[in-house]
Every structure is written in structure tokens, then in C-alpha cells.
């Protein structure tokens, strides 16, 4: 795996006179809109009644990338997505928000390991000279929610990673100060670039797309990259079974009766 050449934002990528340009990659996936109707037949999701949208956590990642670009007065934000090319319309929203281009990485792959491998291969071939200073991902997808791809991607690229970041500061000297929520508190971390960061809710408030943004987004490039080597899946997924959480609710007549019900069932400990 290629090693990054730069260790800070202002290490020039080429020894030419051009000003250094910060490169930021954002990995985005498409998920079913949670307002969709989820039906299952033959052990798989019935996609006919599903609308695909950008994974909500990936919008926090993209917003962070756009804010970094503004903070440093320039740079290029490229969105990478392991998706079929039919996903390009949904992915254009990232261009309307302000990303500079979209790269769709096509390829067979269903589990996190295959997705991380395809993204890693696409990133290393796209940025042939040096990996981007910052690679941002969402903490997890809202469909499968395994939260595995960002850490796997970082390890495949030989980069450090910090997952589920809720605050991101600094970066001027190539070092970020980050916060991550942990059980009962928060961790304050420092990390030097290049780095893979996954975004938690609360990191920022993603900007809304404006009519002008949508118009400009139409003119920006969506490129298709195919031919990533196919890795064997490491996890197999069996049939999906619809689940119901429905219970038979016992209604209490008033607050005191409710407390009594809990007391009788031995739930007050």
C-alpha cells in the first residue's frame, strides 16, 4: 500500500511553485430513506418502495470537509462512493452542498471489508502522488449500522483513524484536536494528518442546499471508476427476517396504578 508523502497541510505535494492545495476526501454511501416503506420478500429488502438518500452521518462528514476548505481558504473536496452509477443523481446533492466532484467506485462487494477495499484502492489510484490530508466518513450507515468501514479503510491505507468524532478543531499545523463521546464522558485526542476521521452527530449542522448550489452542482463532474480488484467477502449475510416489536400494552388508570403495576411485577429495585 502506498505511503503518504505529506505530513502536514502545507507540505507541498509537488515541488513546483503552485501554492499547496489541501485535498479532502469524503466517503459517502446511499441508504434507504427512513421514511420509506420497508418490506421484505424472499429474505431481502423490497427495493421497489425505497428512496435512496445520502447516509445522514455522511452529511456531517461532508459539512466538516466543506468547513475545512473554508477555514484554509481553498482546497478540493472529492466525494467517493461505492455505489452503482444509477446512484449518481442522489449523490449530486453533495455537489449542490459544495463538494467539487463525485467519484463513483463501481465494483462487486457487499460486506464492509469489500467496501473498504474498493474505497482504499480507488483512493490510492485517484491520488497517485499522495493520499489526501483528511479522509472523512460518517460514523456508520443508517441501514446496516455496522460502523466498520472507516476503521478498515484507514488500516488498509496505513493511516491512523479516529472514529465517532463530535468536535474537530485546529489543523493549521497539521495537527487536529478532536473529541469523541465515550460512555459517561468524552475523550480529547490529538492526531496528525494524514488521517481518517469518522463523524458523529453533533459535529456540525449540515448546510441546506440552495437553488444556486443545485444549479452549480449540475455542472460539476461525476466520474465513474471501475476495475478495483475484487476481494472475497469475509462475512456472509443470511436471509433477512422482518421483525415486530409489538407488545400488548397494559394501560393503567392513573399514575398511582402504574406505579403499583411496576411494584407488583418486581420492577422497582
Amino acid at each position: 500500500m502506498k505511503k503518504p508523502l505529506s505530513s502536514g497541510f502545507f507540505v507541498v505535494r509537488t515541488k513546483e511553485e503552485n501554492p499547496p492545495m489541501m485535498h479532502i476526501a469524503v466517503c459517502v454511501c446511499l441508504v434507504p430513506d427512513t421514511a420509506s416503506v420497508f418490506g421484505f420478500s424472499d429474505g431481502t429488502l423490497d427495493r421497489s418502495r425505497i428512496t435512496e438518500v445520502i447516509n445522514p452521518y455522511d452529511e456531517y462528514a461532508l459539512e466538516a470537509a466543506l468547513q475545512l476548505k473554508e477555514q484554509f481558504g481553498g482546497g478540493e473536496v472529492t466525494v467517493f462512493s461505492h455505489a452503482p452509477r444509477s446512484g449518481s443523481e442522489a449523490l449530486r446533492k453533495t455537489l449542490a452542498m459544495g463538494a467539487d466532484r463525485v467519484v463513483i467506485a463501481e465494483g462487486e462487494g457487499s460486506d464492509s471489508w469489500q467496501t473498504a477495499s474498493i474505497l482504499a484502492h480507488t483512493l490510492t489510484s485517484w491520488y497517485s502522488a499522495a493520499l489526501p490530508e483528511v479522509i472523512l466518513c460518517g460514523r456508520q450507515s443508517t441501514d446496516f449500522g455496522s460502523a466498520e468501514v472507516p476503521g478498515m479503510l484507514a488500516e488498509r491505507l496505513g493511516l491512523p483513524s479516529v472514529c465517532a468524532v463530535s468536535s474537530l478543531e485546529g489543523g493549521e499545523d497539521g495537527v487536529f484536536r478532536l473529541e469523541r463521546e465515550i460512555e459517561g464522558g468524552a475523550e480529547v485526542l490529538e492526531v496528525s494528518v494524514p488521517v481518517v476521521i469518522s463523524a458523529e452527530k453533533g459535529l456540525n449542522v449540515p448546510r441546506k442546499t440552495s437553488m444556486r448550489g443545485v444549479m452549480e452542482g449540475r455542472k460539476k463532474p461525476v466520474e465513474i471508476v471501475e476495475g478495483s480488484p475484487v476481494e472475497c467477502a469475509r462475512v456472509g449475510l443470511g436471509a433477512l427476517l422482518p421483525v415486530s416489536n409489538k407488545k400488548n400494552c397494559h394501560f393503567a388508570s392513573d399514575a398511582r396504578a402504574l406505579a403499583g403495576m411496576l411494584h407488583e411485577r418486581g420492577l422497582l429495585q
Partner: protein, 333 residues
Amino acid sequence: MSNNTHGAEGQGCSRRLIVLEQREGVLKSTSVDLWHRMQMQCKGSGLSAVLLGPVDKENPSLQLSGPGVIHHACDERLRRYDPRLYRRIIGELFEEGGFSELLFADTALSRDLAPALSVRLGASLLSRCSALPEAGRCHRRLYSGAAEGTFVASSPRAIVTVSPSSILLQPATEFLPDILPLAVPAAAHDDLPSIVRQVVRREGMVDVAEAGVVVAGGRGMGSAEGFALLEELASLFGGAVGASRTVVDEGWRPHGEQIGQTGKSIAPRLYIACGISGAVQHLSGISGAGTVVAINRDSHAPIFEVADFGLVGDVGEVLPEFVAALKEFLKMQ
């Protein structure tokens, strides 16, 4: 999954390595629970575990019962999570010990560590399993809880992270595990790519993802001040306060307390939802809860469909009465 890894006899327990986690010198309750669930599944055959960093409060072997060995690297450098050292120590122990399965409780730490380790060890990764895997298979809720998927490891090695359960096991064995000291390699810390500088604790409250009782509020609470009632209610049980997404987006409560799709999944034995209508995104976070109690003004709120006990009423009016009644019952016990 190869047959020798998950054979019928004791689920190949001797080849499974449990990662026990401490934070700030305290062994995590989710780790203790994972150890005891493994004891149950392995029926007395010795377990292996690794614990990184010192434990100050109580000797770890006194909190964990049942036979086995704990490889304990009791080094101050491991008190805080150090991604590189943790990966290296756990990875090397796994390789040298000839293990085939690595188990974590699903925590902030395992979510950071497990994906990278799975690449390093060439292992299948089964995340957030709803229970210990059986024969290399585990289950997880998908699509906001609308479906359950069965995941199967296809590599000879697997890393498994297990979600907390609402049913805590009471260990019933006299054996205590042996503690074996584990040496820590000298770290090359010349160019640290990432380091934990500081851990900020929120004082006083149990975390919503770990609490045995969770009391949560939604838009029906009316204001940030309305949550004082919920704090009082939670304190009766030594529980935690949680919040719906609306409440967090309004800024009434911090994101760390949010339950649901863009928040935390919880597994308390008792969950009390106050003024929460029960959007599908919220319900996906409470599928692991034991008994569910709902209080809401709207008798048609979807939260009542997943509740065991319900009360229709305005939370502002019924909660003070509910708290008073609970206090009386608790005094009687």
C-alpha cells in the same frame, strides 16, 4: 466457518479470547457481563481474556468468577486508550496464543479498535451482535430495527462485538480466574499519529447505554426545565436520563443522551418513555430494552404499541404523582 473453530464441544472456548476493558481504572460492567455470559456458554471450560491498563478500585479477579486466565498488562501507559499500543498488544497475544475468535463488548473503544484489528488479523468482523455467536453466526437488527439479519464469518478468524443485554447474569461459581502479567512492548512514540490527551468525565450520571434503568423524555416534556422531573425519577432507580432526537435537536439535552437511530442503542431492564411518541428511528434504539413503560398524552402514539405498561396523560401532570407513588412503594420494600 471451519469446524474445528466452533465445534460442538464447548463452542471451541479455548480458542476464544475476550477483551476486557477498563476506563479510568474501573473494569467496565459490560466487560464483566461478557465474561459471565461466556462462562455460561462455555460451561466451566477455562476462558482466556486480556485486560489492558491498571484497575484501581477492586482486584479484577474478584469481579469475575469462573475458571480461566486473564492476561493483564498493568501498565500506566495503557490507562488511557492508546490505539497503536492496544492494537499491537491484543494482536500479538491473539497470534501467539493461536486464538481464532476475539470478543469485545460493544463500546466506544471496541468500535474504534475492532475494524482496524480485523484488517490486521485478516479476520471476519461481526459487529454489534445481539447475543454471543452460536456456531459462528450472530444476529443484528437492520434498517431501523425493521428486520433481523444473520451474519456468518467466512474467514477462519473472527472478531465479534456483542451488544449489552437487558438480562444481567448472576455468576454462581466458586472458581476465580488466574491473573497472568502481560509485558508491554516499548512503544516507538516518536511520531504519534493519534493520542488521547485527556478524558473528560460527566459526573454523577450513569451512561444511558449502560444503565439498568433508563428514563427518557421527548417533545412532550415541553422544555429543558421539564427534565428535572425525569432526573428525579431516574435517581430513584440509580438510572440514567435519555432523550429523543427532537429534544437533542432543540438543545434541551446533550447528544450523548440521545436514544435511537442517530443516537445510542440501549438495553436497560426497565425503560420509561415520557412524552415520546415513538418514531421508528427512536424505536430502533430500544429494541434491546426489557420492560417498556410509556406515558403520553396521545393514546394512539406508536410508543404504546411496543410498551408493556402505559398511561395516557400529560407528563407535566402525571409525573409528579407517579414519582410520589414510586417513592412510597420503594419505602415499603
